[in-house]
Symmetry: C2
Subunit: 316 residues, 2 copies
């Protein structure tokens, strides 16, 4: 089957769009994520004979091209191993999701690559396999195999990773939601953001948190925006991590005043995301974010987008 | 409004059935509960002039009749205070849910009473008010105000208590489920079962737990029995509390072998509950439970029931 798939893929080439993602979704640390319609990376893949990965970066981020040091590279090397080293890949990457911004840049690089490669091979791997391969990229990027960006990037929408071992990925139906993001141009390393978390927490705080994640899932599945709003509360991670993000409390307060349902740190930051029920609120939230960040003097970038329900998209 | 309600209620009497409940539902410690069609308490209420509670027990449990020492009493005393002491209640209680069995006996006593009294008064209180009043009973019974038995007892079905302060109760739609219960005739005091829990837990265990509760809510709302089954896992409370329940591990293992979707300790025990997709599995689980407990030499009682979707029912 592998040989046939490789034969059929000879001479072909496909381009995919791999979306940014918001991990954690406030109360779902390490288990929830959602895919964004913007930004996305563009990747074009084709086979090569040698069982390795040749990477061409056509953006300005100067990421490593040695496959072992590149998140796309390690994910594809894992796929190549599973293909018994019978082929290799040549991939051209235009990153549009800024590395380190907190909206799943590394996940898009690894997830986009394995989905593109799988498409080239006639989809011989299942989504769960692709998630497993792409997690090698997350391991390289942050030291930990986690799927809360990978899974929504691949399958789209709001995604629950109930368990990593064994892998158990669940799509959570969601009503339409607008997402407003502010990305302050500072660096927060995922590894650092992980290390400042306490390894022990209070049971009573954990109870509050699992009440909220249960409320959020119920709210999304009932299209109950008020319940979604009430459930977007994080008593455990946000109080610790938000100290790494300038003006976090003010951005959050002003965004809620402007009509956001709620929000918080996107992944491990520094981006902050807010969910809104409609476009007008989402743009009012963007204005509020801009007002706060303009005062800080820190460079920043804001955008308004919606939930990507499809995941990585093959465009040609 | 209060005066009018009291006037209209003079000379009337109502009887209610207040159902047993399963709190926690394995991965939803302190926040999830479900109502059972069996067993239930039977309570008949009427007004009296003096602002107090007169309790008639017509069962064999010899519970206190002084209202301040009785869970029904304290819940109704709270309602009387909110009625500006303009009336009192006479209530006759036939408890069929054995106190201390772990299926919400105290919650049925307090929740049934306030629902019955409210019905008598033309439903002047909202469900949230009734939950607040009934929680005085839970405080008396276990030292802690919790609503994970009260809320499902009052509104029926599977219920999420996202938050106690402020009170936020959410109905979680569920597919049909059969519930098999074994009640070993030993005493586990709720207070003791609470005290053996660790106040500090590992973040990684909490993450596993909130992945499971999110999975359980999604599974119930999607009618995905396999997902429900996978999510019925408790890495935090069960390992500690199950040591108080003889043969717990064996009951669980044999129940799963017999076809249960999953289950665990009902509330703080000693009852063990198992959920099944169909009646045949539920009775096979009952057999398995009986086999295990017969060997232990401990007296026990088993029953098979279904989810009560209505909550406390006014029968006449």
């Amino acid at each position: 089957m592998v040989d046939e798939a490789i034969n059929k893929a000879q001479g072909k080439s496909f381009t995919v769009h791999a979306p940014g993602t918001v991990a954690n979704m406030v109360c779902g640390f390490d288990v929830l994520g959602l895919a964004l319609n913007d930004p996305y990376d563009i990747m074009t893949i084709k086979l090569i004979e040698e069982p390795t990965v040749v990477i061409h970066n056509i953006d300005s981020y100067d990421l490593p091209t040695e496959p072992e040091r590149n998140v796309t590279g390690v994910a594809l090397l894992e796929m190549i191993a599973q293909l018994d080293n019978k082929t290799g890949f040549d991939i051209t990457i235009e990153k549009r999701i800024k590395p380190g911004s907190g909206v799943g840049s590394s996940a898009a690089s690894s997830a986009g690559a394995v989905v593109a490669a799988n498409h080239l091979l006639g989809n011989i791997f299942k989504n769960d396999d692709l998630v497993q391969m792409a997690m090698f990229g997350e391991k390289l990027a942050s030291g930990v195999k986690h799927a809360d960006n990978i899974a929504p990037c691949i399958i789209g929408g709001v995604t629950l990773i109930r368990s990593i071992m064994p892998l158990d990925i669940i799509s959570v139906p969601s009503p339409p939601l607008y997402v407003t993001v502010v990305h302050p141009q500072i660096e927060v390393r995922t590894e650092d953001a992980r290390q400042i978390l306490k390894k022990q927490i209070l049971l009573k705080d954990a109870i509050r948190q699992w009440g909220n994640i249960a409320g959020l899932v119920a709210g999304l599945m009932k299209s109950d925006y008020k319940l979604i709003s009430r459930s977007l509360e994080d008593v455990l991670i946000e109080p610790v991590r938000s100290i790494l993000i300038p003006a976090f409390a003010e951005v959050k307060a002003k965004s809620l005043e402007a009509g956001a349902l709620g929000g918080g740190i996107s992944g491990s930051g520094p981006s902050i995301f807010m969910l809104s029920k409609n476009e007008a609120a989402a743009f009012a939230v963007e204005n509020a974010m801009q007002e706060v960040y303009t005062k800080t003097g820190i460079d920043y970038h804001t955008y308004v987008t919606t939930i990507n329900t499809q995941g990585v998209k093959v465009v040609e």
